[in-house]
């Protein structure tokens, strides 16, 4: 008999639809900065695939007194923190004359990079560094993990990518540099282990010995890599450099872990089991882990991809079994449009759960939500026609850099979305960045 997966007993972790984490008492593990004056800003970027039915997303009027649309309605509890941003385009998603197909992957890759990805099935993937990774370079100085990449879909599906574009262009929104796409981790347990290790409650002495061993192994490996690098030719060197870059990143993490010493305690909670079979449980579990990652200050930057572009996922729990991508190509069929809207609303309801969790979680003088700047949206507006203009975007971050929420703002036609990304970095106090991809300047966000 085939067994799907191994895991810690479900009892110790999850029960029922609520998927509530057995959270430890967190006072004991409130990180060092709690005492400091200003808690750090956290950043997260959340993408939903296959576009949104825009007339059920975009409020009819601008300013503060707009009426919430059906897709935004689940976010009512966060209305005062929310900026609905209309009119922003991702011009780099547009195909060049010789490019065949590939609207979805181009749009997804452009979303946080502002670059036009190279059409290739695999050889010489190329895009640009994504905004989360720019932030991670800065914020990573203070946290063990520079960033966390989270997804709700596995990369193992075969044949889901159009042939001219490699699957990396569908499976991630995060690029470490122009040639290194970062995998989105979709296994809750792996994220847990990444945050808190896999060795359970080991005493500090043993942990120190383990760290010394890791250090020795990395030193030995670094020596190997350098030797090998000298013998390799051009493109192979790129791969080895990725490896070396990864070694350095882990060394940095280990140094930070040592410097921060015992202030970081491993939470006393059961590790997550495999992937919950019901999507909403899966989403909530990941949301809980993302909250935990910020709460323990293991990282301050998260990229979260709710589904792959062209995802064939169905959501039977909301009452129908149609594949997501298929219904978004509704071609005017009211039934399919209706189903797409239901999926869009389902996603904002789940977002509302995540935001609610952040609001419930104390952080310094307020909550995690008070100290977070979160971008939610899609890389396509109209999924039926594959439009990259007037993208669906909502920003949550009341008070960050003086941002004032509770408004719907429309920008002039053709304003690059990358301008928003650049502005987000400013607001999060990332030292000045000149441009991201095709940005042309900063965006004016409403301030108090």
């Amino acid at each position: 008999m085939v067994i799907s997966r191994k895991s810690i007993p479900r009892r110790t972790f999850l029960r029922g639809a609520g998927a509530v984490l057995a959270l430890p008492v967190l006072d004991a593990m409130t990180p060092a900065f709690a005492a400091a004056a200003a808690p750090p800003v956290r950043l997260s970027f959340i993408e939903v695939p296959n576009g949104i039915i825009m007339d059920k997303w975009t409020p009819a009027t601008e300013g503060t007194s707009f009426a919430l649309t059906p897709v935004l309605e689940p976010l009512a509890p966060f209305r005062d923190r929310m900026l609905v941003l209309s009119g922003l385009d991702q011009g780099q998603s547009k195909g060049l004359p010789f490019e065949v197909g590939g609207d979805h992957p181009r749009a997804l890759t452009a979303w946080l990079t502002g670059t036009h990805c190279k059409m290739t099935s695999g050889a010489d993937l190329r895009a640009g560094i994504s905004v989360d990774q720019i932030a991670a370079r800065e914020f990573g100085k203070y946290t063990q993990l520079a960033s966390l990449e989270v997804g709700l879909e596995t990369a193992e599906i075969v044949g889901a990518c159009e042939s001219a574009y490699g699957c990396a262009y569908y499976n991630t929104i995060s690029w470490r540099n122009d040639i290194t796409p970062l995998p989105m981790e979709n296994r809750p347990r792996a994220i847990f282990e990444r945050l808190f290790g896999d060795s359970g409650n080991i005493d500090p002495k043993a942990q120190l010995a383990l760290r010394q061993e890791d250090r020795s192994i990395l030193d030995a490996v670094t020596a190997d890599v350098k030797k090998l690098r000298g013998k390799l030719g051009g493109p192979d060197r790129g791969k080895i450099d990725q490896y070396l870059d990864a070694v350095r990143d882990i060394e940095r993490r280990m140094q930070l872990a040592e410097a921060q010493g015992s202030e970081h305690e491993v939470p006393h909670m059961g590790e997550p089991v495999g992937i919950p079979p019901v999507f909403s449980e899966y989403y909530r579990l990941m949301a809980d882990l993302m909250v935990l990652a910020w709460q323990t200050d293991m990282t301050r930057v998260i990229a979260f991809q709710v589904g792959h572009e062209m995802s064939g996922r169905a959501y039977p729990e909301i009452g129908f079994g149609d594949a997501h991508h298929a219904v978004t190509h509704h071609q005017g069929d009211p039934e399919k449009i209706g189903k797409t809207i239901q999926i869009n609303i389902f996603h904002t309801k789940l977002l509302s759960y995540y935001l609610g969790k952040l609001r419930e979680t104390p952080d310094g003088d307020g909550s995690l939500l008070d100290h977070a700047l979160i971008l939610y949206g899609g890389s396509l507006s109209d999924g039926n026609l594959h439009l990259f203009t007037d993208l669906p975007l909502a920003l949550f971050g009341n008070g960050i850099g003086g941002i004032k929420g509770g408004r719907h703002v429309r920008y002039p036609k053709g304003t690059p979305m990358a301008n928003l990304l650049l502005t987000m970095l400013d607001k999060a106090n990332v030292p000045h960045v000149d441009r991201i991809g095709d940005s042309t300047g900063r965006l004016e966000l409403p301030t108090a």
Binding site: G122, V158, L232, G321
Partner: protein, 795 residues
């Protein structure tokens, strides 16, 4: 498949491939029936083009950017991508367009043959083998390497993230990147694995749970591993890392809202280890059945546990019910998947009170010596580590390999003794770049852009990763180290030996798992409203059937073409019932002769029909595209952007899917592709979204019309009709298969210069019955498999 993107990068075609002495060319060894042709006559080709093509394809603004005047008719290596594209257009008779003067059949054939033959000749004389990028082991290669190196089975999906795919496969060097996340996982995996393999006595206790999917019906004896007279339950292979005590517990299956299933009556649970009964538990009936919520009472499975000493090693744990006469039924919970009673999980916690490392195959493999005195320790460690490095790095051990490992050994030994030292050094081996990557080096003095044979050592790894998705075994490595592997007869012997070895199952699982999309079976989400009968048993059975079918063709060395037309398949009871085939009982698979014409070959397999469907209905276009792309190697181009709406009038709803699609095809911008894809897909409409036969799509819609016409006028009807069409294109199928297998074997996307190689392998194989072995050997003997191009800078 060959990418059209090459067209956009004509300028990147290699300018100078260094001339190789003809005698060293691998293809010279194959007894190829060369294409019948005289010396290539550029003038003749030019004249033909002048008559039929030059009206349009001339000057800088020629259609499709094809200006025939820019081509060098004396050197078909130049602008190879354009020549290949031309060949396809001419072979398919797509050009010149219908309605303009066209050559007669003989002229078409002559010109195709002439270009083909000249490209083939040039590929022999001036091979361009391409250059695979430094290749990181993917997840399954890593797991197999660990198995072959250390004799332990790991659940790699638990340890490492999934790999990206390119060109349809997950073993493409270009897309196998390294990120900090991945290296972190390699470090963690290295630690876990070395601890398990060495049998670390200082190991902390851990908990491992094996979860059984909710939708798995457990109404029968589940497999051969289960005792006779048992019903349901599961068998798991668990690695007990050391001699010590372990606690084994069983969880009962739960339904929606976590209520326990099957509490209406008393049940007996049989817990067994390596076929010895550990305990027979009684689970009392509970009147509150179905209402049991956790926390309210003691769970009815709380007592299903036992703590006992177990010797180290991989052992089979069985938890099953003693068969009773009541047949429980699945409960359909609204629109959710079905839930069934049975065993829900098996958990092993431990080790506690460790006695020692015990005797395991892993330790036997690792510890070639056991130092009796302190003075023997260092030499013994050297011996052990040299052997591990040799296998793990797939090459002879060098002088500078051991010192850093011995330093680690000493560090580990200082803290925890001899075994701990070996463990730490092993940990390092498992994250070393030479284990993680398949390293191939250019000769230091080789000229940039020149081509050379890979070394025998490198060839051994190319072979083992192609056929086994793993490292070479001792024999292969020995042959290579003796410098004999490039010898054609030695090479052929090794290939045949490796194909016959059970490890070649990896070729079936990984290659056909991706080529045919079988891997997606694990992730289909049939809508319970549309497919109430679907359960996990069917999911498992569908995947198993096709795996067995493809494997049987490999083991019996059948023709690849047979895959389209096998008159047998492998069924268990669940799948036989799905197909409406009687007389198959039990969960074991067996070979069954097929009487139904429509079930024959790949196109009758439920797995393939299911992965090319939507969750709630069939998708003729997806099926059509799958056939064109995966079986015939001619994918339709992606839909144009801003596809116009089908029809927005109210009448849309009343049309059948076929009528709606036909409307689709009336639109010229859609028709170009859909008139090809749709008839193919519609001919399979009698198979529903899970591959079950049906006469009508829905009650009252009348019999399904599965007839169709291809653009060339061929009429056909139903799956059997489609199969006949495909059988008539057997050559194309085999060529497409070869393209896919070559991509997989090389771990890189194919380029225009590989095209003649594919044609030659296909031609050679045709002379040998298109057998698996003839195509595999054709690939192994080809220039791209045996040679590589020296890097010419940063390209």
């Amino acid at each position: 498949m060959i990418r059209t993107r090459a067209l956009a990068s004509i300028s990147m075609v290699l300018l100078a491939a260094v001339l190789m002495p003809a005698a060293t060319l691998p293809a010279e060894n194959s007894a190829s029936p060369a294409v019948a042709h005289g010396p290539f006559d550029p003038h003749q080709v030019w004249e033909t083009f002048k008559i039929y093509c030059m009206d349009c394809h001339i000057g800088p603004r020629a259609p499709a950017g094809l200006n025939l005047q820019t081509l060098d008719f004396d050197n078909l290596d130049q602008h190879g991508a354009t020549w290949e594209k031309l060949l396809i257009k001419l072979r398919n008779r797509e050009m010149p367009p219908v309605g303009t003067p066209r050559p007669d059949a003989a002229t078409y054939q002559d010109i195709v043959t002439a270009i083909d033959a000249e490209r083939d000749r040039l590929a022999q004389v001036r091979p361009n083998p391409g250059r695979p990028t430094l290749h990181r082991l993917n997840r399954s290669e890593y797991a197999n390497a660990i198995r072959d190196l250390l004799a332990i089975e790991i659940d790699v999906a638990d340890l490492l993230p999934a790999d990206d795919t390119g060109y349809g496969f997950d073993n493409i060097g270009d897309v196998l990147n390294v990120s900090p996340l991945l290296l972190e996982r390699y470090l963690a995996a290295g630690r876990k694995i070395s601890r398990l393999a060495v049998g670390d006595s200082a190991m902390h206790d851990t908990v491992q749970t094996y979860v059984i999917p909710h939708g798995l019906s457990q109404t029968d004896r589940m497999s051969e591993a289960m005792p006779l007279g048992s019903r349901g339950g599961t068998a798991v292979r668990h690695l007990f890392p050391v001699d010590g005590e372990y606690e084994i517990s069983v969880g009962l299956q739960r339904g929606r809202y976590d209520a326990f299933m099957g509490m209406e009556r008393e049940r007996k649970l049989d817990l067994r280890l390596d076929d010895q009964r550990l305990k027979l538990f009684t689970i009392a009936a509970d009147a509150r059945a179905g209402a049991l919520e956790y926390g309210a009472h003691e769970d009815p499975d709380a007592h299903l546990k036992i703590r006992l000493p177990v010797k180290a090693g991989t052992r089979t744990l069985v938890a099953t019910f003693v068969k009773d006469t009541v047949m429980p039924e699945g409960i359909l919970g609204g629109r959710e998947a079905a839930f069934f009673e049975g065993v829900g999980s098996v958990t092993v916690a431990g080790p506690f009170n460790v006695q020692g490392p015990g005797a395991t195959p892993s330790r036997e493999r690792i510890f070639l010596c056991h130092p009796a005195a302190a003075s023997e320790e260092q030499p013994c460690a050297e011996k052990i580590l040299a052997s591990l490095v040799h296998r793990a790095f797939r090459r002879p051990v060098g002088a500078d390999d051991l010192p850093p490992l011995l330093a680690l050994y000493r560090q580990g030994a200082q803290n925890g003794g001899f075994d701990a030292g070996v463990k730490l050094a092993l940990e390092k081996i498992l994250v070393s770049p030479e284990f993680i990557f398949r390293v191939e080096l250019d000769a230091p003095e080789a000229a940039p852009g020149s081509v050379h044979r890979v070394s025998d050592i490198e060839l051994a790894s190319r072979l083992s990763f192609f056929l086994w998705s793993s490292i070479p075994d001792a024999e292969l490595l020995q042959v290579a180290e003796r410098g004999e592997l490039h010898d054609p007869s030695v090479l052929e012997h090794q290939v045949r030996r490796m194909l016959a070895d059970p490890r070649s199952q990896a070729l079936v699982a990984n290659f056909s798992g991706q080529w045919l999309f079988l891997r997606n079976i694990a992730r289909i989400q049939p809508d319970p409203a549309a497919f109430p009968a679907f359960d996990e048993n069917l999911r498992l059975a569908m995947a198993q059937e096709t795996q067995l079918l493809v494997e049987s063709t490999l083991r019996e060395d059948r023709s690849i073409g047979d895959l389209l037309n096998t008159d047998y398949t492998f069924l268990n009871q669940r799948l036989a019932e799905h197909y409406g085939i009687e007389g198959v009982y039990g969960n074991e698979f067996r070979r069954i002769a097929l009487k139904d014409q429509n079930r024959r070959g790949l196109l009758g397999q439920a797995s393939i029909l299911a992965v090319t469907s939507y969750p709630n209905r069939t998708a003729p276009t997806i099926r059509g595209k799958w056939v064109l792309e995966q079986l015939l190697g001619s994918p339709p181009p992606p839909p144009p952007p801003n596809v116009p709406s089908l029809k927005e009038d109210a009448g849309t709803k009343a049309l059948t899917m076929r009528q709606r699609m036909e409307e689709h095809r009336a639109n010229p911008s859609c028709a170009a592709c859909h008139r090809l894809m749709d008839p193919v897909g519609f001919s399979l409409e009698n198979f529903d979204g899970l591959g079950r036969w049906r006469d009508q799509a829905a009650p009252g819609t009348g019999p399904i019309d599965a007839s169709g016409v291809l653009p060339d006028g061929t009429r056909f009807d139903g799956p059997a009709g489609l199969r006949n069409v495909l059988m008539s294109k057997r050559e194309q199928f085999v060529e497409a298969f070869t393209e896919r297998l070559l991509t997989y074997a090389l771990g890189r996307g194919l380029e225009e210069y590989d095209r003649p190689v594919v044609r030659r392998i296909t031609r050679d194989a045709a002379a040998d019955g298109q057998k698996w072995s003839s195509i595999v050997l054709g690939i192994v003997r080809s220039a791209p498999f045996q040679m590589r191009r020296v890097s010419d800078g940063d390209l």
